[in-house]
Every structure is written in C-alpha cells, then in structure tokens.
C-alpha cells in the first residue's frame, strides 16, 4: 500500500510561496488570525500555522480577544483587519462565542481576504467552479493530495462521508469540477458499508476515531482521512483504523502527517493567491520598489 504523505505536497506549496516572496521582494503576504478566547485546539492550530508560515516566508499575526469580548469591540477589530491594506488574508477561529454577530462579520468580510471560503461570494464561487474562489482549506487539501500524488479523479467514483460546510459539501463541488462521480454519505445513510465500498476514492470526514474498518473499503481504493481525533490511549488518530485500512486500500493518508499537514500549506497558498488578487486590483507603483527594497 502507498502511504500518501502530506509533506511532499506541503513542500511543493512551500516552494511556490518562497518563489513568490522572492519575486515580489518588499511585498510580504500577511495573514491575520482572529481568535476569541483560549481554546486549546485553536491555540494548537495557531501555533502550527505560525511555525509553518515562518518556514514559507510569510507573515502570520495573531489578534487575540477575551472570551467575553463585546460584539461591538469584536466588530471594530474585525473592521480594522478587514480594511488594513497590509493584511492580505483573514482566518477567524470558529465557532465564535454567542454574543458575536457572525452573520454581520460575514456580510462585511472582503472575499479576497477570505482564505477559508466562508463568505457567500466564495461559497457560491466554489459551487459554480470559479477558479478564483477560495474553498475551505481542508476541502482544498484533499484535492491537492489527490492531484499531487497523481491519483486520477476524472470519471472515478468518489464517496465522501460527511456533509459539513467545511469539508463534505464544498469538497463535493471541487470533485465534480475534477470530473469525478461524487456521492455524499452521512449519519442518515442506510447501509453505509455498501455505499462506501463502491468508491474508487473514499474520503472520511466523520469525526469518530477509527470508525472506518476494512469492511468499508473497496479493494485497492484510495482512502483520504480528514479526521483528527484522540484514541483511548490518548494518541492522535484519524477516522480510519489504519491497521485495517493498510490491508485493503491501494493508497491512504496517515494521521498525523496527511491531510492536516496539507491544510496549513493550502492556507499559505491561498494567502499568496489573495496577495496577488489584491495587487491586481491595486497595481504596485514601480517607484515604490526603491522605497520598499
């Protein structure tokens, strides 16, 4: 069985990012991470982004607000980031506390800074198949892994387990764009095993540790594990039972070291795309080169 490691894909993206920064010296693409409160999962994601972005030659600034911040204050900070021309992308750690008017934030958000594809413009753009629309980074990471490892999608049967706005739904649209035949399953699917074991490519985005055993997998299928869970022993694990999957699948992503690794890299790739799109709208004055360099 082929282990589909994320690192090779992340390294390719790293190369593209460093090339961009080298070409446009003086323009440092900058991400704003907006976090309310101190959830450990958010802090851990933030640390991994900051470490990764440093390697990639990109900037990641954190904007931290207390758990009990007022909606007014939150919106002020958001407006500042959203309008700052030196911030090219925004990642909002969600869910936000109840007092925050998330819908109001989404209506204001500049779609060109919306790296995780949460605004209407990007959600609709992904459905239409617009090349410039930002898809949620995790959904995009699945496609990047398949493309990067030269796994054919066109005409193939892909089954996605999970119908969230972060993975299942947008990923189904991205895969249709790649000419796959796409099935979306979920908790209400009757006879899940029968459906998943037809798939040439199986994507698990369930959120249940080691849920997918070999009985769900077609012989020689490609298995993409989007889950990040903790098993009984306290170890990080995916939605798939790795020891069983490797006996049946033709290729599979490990957890950790698979989709998660690529997700942060896609965030970086989106930041560079966002910086390009924003510069296209407001072209750089050549004379600024002297000032910046």
């Amino acid at each position: 069985m082929q282990e589909l490691r994320g690192k090779i894909i992340a390294d390719q993206i790293k190369g593209e990012c460093l090339d961009f920064v080298g070409q446009y010296n003086g323009i440092l693409p900058a991400l704003a991470i907006l976090r309310v409160g101190h959830k450990e999962a958010d802090l851990s994601y933030e640390r991994s982004i900051k470490k990764r972005f440093m390697d990639f030659g990109l900037e990641a600034k954190d904007y931290e607000l207390p758990e009990n911040v007022s909606n007014e204050e939150f919106q002020q900070v958001f407006d500042f980031i959203n309008q700052d021309p030196e911030i090219h992308g925004i990642l909002v750690m969600r869910p936000l506390p109840k007092q925050i008017d998330e819908a109001a934030m989404l209506r204001k958000m500049n779609p060109l800074k919306d790296l995780d594809g949460i605004t209407d413009t990007n959600v609709a753009g992904v459905m239409r198949g617009d090349a410039d629309a930002f898809a949620p980074c995790t959904a995009q990471a699945v496609v990047e892994i398949l493309k990067g490892h030269q796994i054919e999608m066109a005409g193939k049967e892909v089954c996605i387990i999970g119908r969230s706005m972060v993975v299942g739904k947008p990923l189904s649209m991205l895969l249709l764009q790649e000419n796959a035949t796409v099935t979306v399953c979920h908790s209400k699917t009757e006879d899940l095993k029968a459906v998943t074991s037809r798939a040439d490519i199986l994507v698990a985005a369930i959120g249940k540790a080691k849920f997918i055993s070999s009985g769900y997998v077609k012989e020689d299928a490609t298995v993409i594990d989007v889950g990040i869970n903790v098993d009984e022993a306290g170890n990080l694990c995916g939605d798939c039972d790795w020891d069983q999957i490797i006996l049946k699948a033709g290729a599979a992503t490990p957890v950790p070291g698979g989709v998660g690794t690529v997700t942060t890299a896609v965030l970086a790739k989106h930041l560079v795309q966002a910086a390009k799109l924003q510069m296209k709208l407001a072209p750089i004055d050549d004379s600024a080169d002297e000032y910046l360099s």
Copy 2:
C-alpha cells in the same frame, strides 16, 4: 406504475397563493419578468407564467428590451425593477446577450427578490441549508414533487444525472438537506448505467431526448424527468423513454405534465415567500389597510 403528475402539487401551491392573497388583501405580490430579445423558448415560458399567475391571483409584469439593448440601458431598467417596492420578485430570462454585464447585475440584485436563486446569497444559502434561501425553481420543483407524493427521501439513494447550476448542483444540496444519500453523475461518469441503476430515486437532467432507457433504472425506482426536449416527430418529450420506463419504475413523472408544471408553481410560491419576507423587513402600517382596500 404510479404516474407522478405535477398538477396535484401545483394545485396545492395554488391554494396557498390564493389564501395569502385573500389574507393580505391590498398586497398583490408582483413578479417582474425581464426579457431581452424574442427567443421562442423565453416567450413560451413567459406566456405559461402569466397564465399561471393569473390563476394563482398573482401579478406578472413583463419588461421587454430589444436584443441589441446597451448594457447601460439594461442596468437602468434592472435598477428600477430591483428598487421598486411594488415589485416583489424578479425573473431574468437567461442567457443574456454578450454586451450585458450579468455579473454586475447579480452583485446588485436584492436577494429577497431573487426567486430563481441566482445571487451569491441564495446559492450559498442553499448550500448551507438555510430555510429562507431561494433555490432555483426547477431544483425546488423536484423536491416538491417527491414530498407532495410522499416519496421517502431520508436515507435513500438518490442519483442525479447532470451537474448544472440550475438543477444538478443545487438539487444535490436540497436532497442532502432531506437526508438522502446523493450521487451526482455527468458526461464524464464511467459506466453510467451501473451508477444510475443503484438509485432508489433517479433524477434525469441531461437535455437529451429519451436518453434514459429501462437499463438505467432499478426495479421499482422513482424516476423524475427534468428534461424538456423535442423528439424526431416534433413532440415534446423528456430525457427518459417513457414507454420503457413504465415497465420498470415504481413511479415516474410524465413530460409534459410533470416537473415543468411544478416549476412555474414554485416560482409563484417563491413570489409569495418573497412578498412575506419583504413585508417582515418593512412591516405594513395598519392604517394603510383602509387606503389599500
């Protein structure tokens, strides 16, 4: 085999529309049909809408522009309709001629008047499963037919052939919301028959006369035919070969008299919803009743 006629569903919707008009006398929900040029298909659709709306107690006004209208003039007419408080819904006959900036129109369009779900707000709302979002009328008509004829969707395997923004893609989202397991097929699907003949509910939105023979259909499946084509003899027909389908399916929609009949009724239903939503935002002054009645 059960013939799933659209009329029974359209009659239910007619009842709801007449009830609304009866309750809110003085408020006449009005649709603006914006048409550029004289394509026969557009004219035929427009005639059927106007006839239907008259029966339903609703108003449909047509705004006709010549094929060579300038973009500036088109946008002026559009702005007028979009801002007119006595127009509650807009249907734009598409595709528009090349000189018209359709993207500019979509950015301006009031989502509450967007009865065919073409704005980003409604496209994204349908993907999120928002109850107030308008889906394209044809996609919604498929769900109305299944619901109206009490055909179970939850947990069932539904296969949609076609991935357009008018039917396939939004319908896949509506059916996920109904807890169906949804597969989307298209021209690049390998072994289409194998995929479609697994489906408990098969939706054909291909645009090829009589393409679907009995070999594509599972025994006793429900078949929904979205196609409107003309056969060699010049008669209206669907994407399914009716003579073959009836031997195998458990239930099927005829063409004409199936999905098409319900699509115009859904447009009427959406207009009433739009009028309600717009009144909610700007509540009616009670004193106006005397003036209006």
